[in-house]
């Protein structure tokens, strides 16, 4: 072992998080940067998954992606292809990528490219489609597919042209540090960061020599899509936490993700293994006519934001969404973040939160502290309908199941040669 103690290793891990320099470089078709998407393959969220174990919304997303890629031209054919095993499934996390909700990403979908300038590592995430009937929540009607086509043909190339004009790319840390003081926690609320992104990108869109109609559509889409920044944040979280995982020791969480069936975590000292337990179903506020009975179990790679220390971990940064926590107001949000701080190694001074007396966001979830206290991380999340095609029906919070941490702790004990009878 390179480090004298777990504590020392954890300090090295969190140091990697603190010193990361993520930059948004480009938006490119997924197949250009993810070789596994060559041929008929789909990325999905969470730990490895088989078609038959996928919940309906994720299956819906797969159908949508199959139609989008033109592998099939109707729902039934698409289903048959998926059931027959003709299409390969790969977890996003295994190919330097992350995807929200179902996380379904296919060859021709545009993805953001975020690079950590410290070590040249890169991570990818597809683009946010907006709200309502969208692929990530399992919807796949014509409107959804048409929008995906437009994102591929217009939005992706436009953003690519704009970003390429920025020397060295767009500094994500700057946007994040600003937006956290403006009320974003980067999982349920990204409106400030999305607005800042729009503000920063528009001058370059104007000089990207886009046809006027496309320029109008792109700026309108970015202006309308309050969660646009979430996917940039996810790729950022992924590249930062993968950099931290380079330490290969310690007890800090480097990934949190779920596939609708299992919740999986990765730990700095335990390499690329997933430690899993059955996912919980979110608790939250529902659109009219829906209730917990309709909710799909928790899914998506977006919990990478919590692994990074934002999202539910930084609840207090976003007073605007605190009421998802329950009935209470501001004090409940303080309590949530205070509680999350109990299971972390420290605070991240790069993410100073005004409403938390300028304490930095939580830094480095320590699985030992989770098991010791029984406090599990809070994930701020969207809620999908359990039936494919309906889409989002609410938003709320969900806890990572304790079982993941207990299993990981046993594995860590083995790694460090700790034996108890």
């Amino acid at each position: 072992m390179e480090y004298q103690s777990i504590q020392e290793a954890n300090e090295a891990v969190t140091q990697k998080i603190l010193e990361s320099q993520p930059f948004l470089l480009d938006v490119v078709p997924a197949k250009e940067v993810i070789s596994e998407l060559d041929g008929k393959a789909l990325l999905h969220a969470g730990p490895p998954m088989k078609w038959e174990n996928m919940t309906h919304p994720m299956q819906g997303s797969c159908i949508g992606a199959t139609l989008f890629e033109g592998w099939a031209d109707n729902e039934d054919d698409a289903k048959k292809m998926l059931e027959s095993g003709e299409i390969k499934f790969v977890p996003c996390h295994s190919v330097d990528a992350v995807g929200p909700m179902g996380g379904i990403t296919s060859a021709n979908m545009p993805v953001v490219v975020v690079e950590n300038k410290v070590n040249g590592k890169r991570a990818y995430c597809n683009l946010n489609e907006g709200i309502g009937a969208v692929l990530r929540f399992g919807a796949y009607n014509d409107e959804v597919i048409n929008r995906l086509q437009w994102m591929k043909d217009v939005l992706g190339p436009a953003l690519s042209k704009a970003l390429k004009q920025i020397d060295g790319g767009m500094n994500v840390n700057v946007t994040v540090a600003k937006a956290i003081t403006m009320g974003d926690e980067f999982h349920q609320r990204n409106i400030a960061a999305s607005a800042l992104f729009l503000k920063d990108i528009v001058p370059y869109l104007l000089t990207a020599e886009l046809p006027e109609k496309e320029l109008q559509e792109v700026t309108q889409f970015l202006a309308d899509t309050d969660q646009f920044f979430l996917n940039i944040m996810m790729a950022t979280g992924k590249v930062v936490m993968d950099s931290a995982a380079d330490v290969e020791e310690g007890s800090v969480i480097t990934a949190l993700s779920r596939n609708g069936d299992e919740f999986g975590i990765k730990v700095s000292g335990l390499g690329d293994q997933w430690f899993t337990a059955p996912v919980n179903t979110p608790d939250g506020l529902y659109f009219s006519g829906y209730s917990t009975d309709d909710a799909n179990p928790d899914m998506g790679d977006s919990a990478i934001t919590e692994a990074y220390g934002v999202g539910g971990m930084a609840m207090i940064a976003a007073p605007g969404v605190t009421r998802f926590v329950g009935t209470g107001g501001f004090n409940d949000a303080v309590q949530t973040s205070d509680e999350m701080r109990e299971i972390c190694v420290g605070n991240n001074p790069n993410l100073s939160i005004p409403t938390w007396d300028f304490q930095g966001a939580c830094l480095g979830i320590d699985i030992r502290k989770v098991v010791e206290t029984g406090i599990t991380p809070v994930i701020n999340t969207g809620i999908a309908h359990k039936t494919a095609g309906i889409g989002q029906i609410g938003a709320g919070t969900v806890r990572v199941p304790l079982g993941c941490f207990e299993k990981a702790l046993e594995a860590l004990a083995e790694k460090y040669g700790v034996e108890v009878e």
Binding site: I131, G132, L285, F287, Y290, D332, R368
Partner: protein
């Protein structure tokens, strides 16, 4: 049937509206309801939930749209009313809790970095481990928990003793630290009576009687009932007694105990003899022994309280800030000025003053007082001007102040005088305004001294009541206005004079402290010298009481490690 209400230009965020929707769903007669802003995406959601109406077509993103599905049109009006009232009163009554709650030691320390005591009230089987964690962090421990094995108690107390800390309890029902109640305690004013007790309700009874009689408690240190057993050997009791002896705010030490092991009793009594302050002791159920030295034994809790009150009233000079007295600082600079001059008209008062000074100086009291000279030692003198030697050919000094005025003027001019001590006995027959006579004399003498760059202190007491013709408070006020320090009693006046001289000589009254335990780096003294800063592990209402009385507190919401899973707890112990 669907009804649509559109409120123009009323923007609300989506979370508010989701909460509102939930709220409206409960309105009687509502089959389904949805409230959203009129954005295109939201209109799609209306469609997908089967609540789309044509009226929504024209709604703008800044319009609040309500669609109600109901069989009864009158329900719509209720929904609108509910909406208005909801939007007007959104301030949520979120649970206000100003006590910080934490779940780990690390965060407790983070939130209260200068904590000095842990109050532990979790189940006994877990209490020892937490008490040791508190000691690890240099915290004193107040253990309310019971069912702690006696060997654990010994380990904790021995360890605390070695590390300059104190463990109160286990099974410690009550305590008061610098006016802040710990565990079960009554609200008692801050005062100069210190209590050490093995009996929780005993402490409560005695402190309450003290409080009801207008006095107060400096500290109440619980020891736990088993402290006086042979196994423990009164470790905490002895430490507590010594700490109170050192505490400048404690003038009288009260000791309340259950019947101890005989050899431990002897040990404790030996400690009493080493203390510099008067001790009132009760060993419940034992016949009181003869008083000896500064130790008084009592029979009941009430007697105990009253005896303590009696002694405390005679010793109430606590809290005088010597360093802040400008005159005293000037006097300190002049090495010659170190003596007390007392000129009394009351013979018994003179005698009491002499006795207190003698005691402080450890003089062998002489019973010979020629010509009213009650005390003459080096430059100190206490004279009873009512002695026959002074009243021949003139009226008693209670009536005729002439001689005393001369003496005061002389003393003020004497370069050895630090403190002038006076009495003022009022009532029928006494001088009509003794304070009125002395006020200008003292004022003038002070001015004279000041013009020479010098100073002296005058201390007086007034013996009398508000009903006396001179009126007690008027006399006090006149003296005070002239710069005289006025105390509640003659004993207090004398004691303060003695303490001033001690202060001038640059030393505290010497503690005759020869007890066996060497007190090192004293975190216990620190604990009682300011409001306690408490990590409260267990019962939350203890934290509330602490906060109410000005103590700092963090609530440590304790739970067994790893939810009680012993295997995981062991792994955690080793995975550092």
């Amino acid at each position: 049937m669907l009804y649509t209400v559109i409120k123009k230009n009323l923007y609300q965020d989506s979370v508010s509206l989701m909460l509102l929707t939930n709220h409206l769903s409960a309105v009687e007669g509502v089959t389904q309801v949805q409230v959203m802003m009129g954005t295109p995406a939201n209109k799609d959601i209306f469609k997908s939930s089967g609540l789309y109406t044509e009226e929504l077509e024209d709604a703008n993103p800044s319009d609040l749209c309500i669609v109600v599905d109901t069989d009864d049109e009158s329900v719509v009006e209720n929904v609108v009313e509910e909406t208005d009232s909801y939007l007007n009163s959104q301030a949520e009554a979120s649970q206000q809790s100003t006590i910080q709650v934490v779940r780990t030691w690390e965060m407790a320390e983070n939130k209260l970095s200068n904590a000095d005591v842990a109050l532990i009230s979790i189940a006994g089987e877990h209490a020892t481990a937490e008490a040791n964690k508190a000691l690890d962090r240099g915290l004193n421990v107040f253990m309310f928990s019971d069912n702690v094995p006696v060997e654990d108690e010994l380990q904790l107390k021995t360890r605390a003793q070695d590390e300059g800390l104190i463990v109160m309890g286990p099974d410690c029902g009550t305590g008061i630290l610098d006016g802040v109640p710990m565990a079960f305690a009554n609200v008692v004013e801050k005062g100069n009576i210190g209590i050490v007790g093995a009996s929780g309700t005993g402490i409560q009874e005695v402190s309450s009687i003290i409080g009801r009689n207008g006095s107060g408690v400096s500290q109440a240190i619980g020891t736990g009932g088993r402290d006086l057993s042979s196994e423990i050997g009164a470790i905490t009791t002895i430490r507590g007694l010594q700490v109170l002896d050192e505490d400048p705010e404690t003038d009288v030490i009260t000791y309340i105990s259950k019947p101890p092991a005989p050899e431990v009793r002897e040990k404790v009594v030996e400690v009493f003899k080493t203390l510099s302050k008067p001790v009132v002791a009760i060993f419940m159920g034992d016949k009181p022994k003869e008083a000896h030295g500064n130790v008084h034994y009592t029979w009941t809790l009430e007697d105990t309280a009253h005896k303590a009150l009696e002694l405390a009233t005679a010793n109430n000079t606590a809290g005088y800030n010597f360093a802040a007295d400008e005159d005293l600082q000037k006097i300190k600079d002049n090495n010659k000025q170190r003596y007390i001059k007392g000129y009394f008209c009351g013979g018994t008062l003179a005698s009491e003053a002499a006795m207190i000074v003698e005691d402080a100086l450890e003089l062998d009291a002489s019973n010979e007082h020629p010509e009213g000279m009650m005390l003459q030692y080096e430059g100190h003198e206490v004279i009873d001007l009512g002695d026959d030697a002074y009243t021949q050919g003139r009226a008693h000094p209670m009536i005729d102040p002439t001689l005393r005025v001369e003496k005061v003027e002389e003393a003020a001019a004497d370069e050895e005088t630090a403190v002038i001590l006076l009495d003022n006995v009022i009532g029928y027959g006494a001088h009509e305004d003794m304070a009125g006579v002395f006020a200008p004399v003292v004022e003038k003498a002070k001015e004279q001294a000041a013009s020479e760059g010098k100073a002296f202190v005058a201390i007086a007491s007034v013996t009398g009541t508000a009903e006396d013709p001179q009126v007690f408070q008027d006399q006090v006020d006149k003296l005070k206005a002239a710069g005289v320090i006025v105390t509640d009693s003659n004993a207090q006046a004398t004691k303060l004079a003695v303490e001033m001289v001690d202060y001038l000589n640059g030393e505290k009254p010497e503690a005759k402290n020869t007890a066996e335990a060497e007190v090192k780096d004293d975190k216990v003294q620190e604990l009682i010298s300011s409001k306690p800063r408490v990590i409260n592990i267990g019962l939350k209402n203890f934290a509330e009481a602490i906060m109410e009385h000005g103590g700092d507190v963090v609530q440590y919401q304790w739970a067994p490690i790893a939810g009680g899973n012993k295997r995981l707890a062991k792994i955690l112990e080793k995975l550092k």
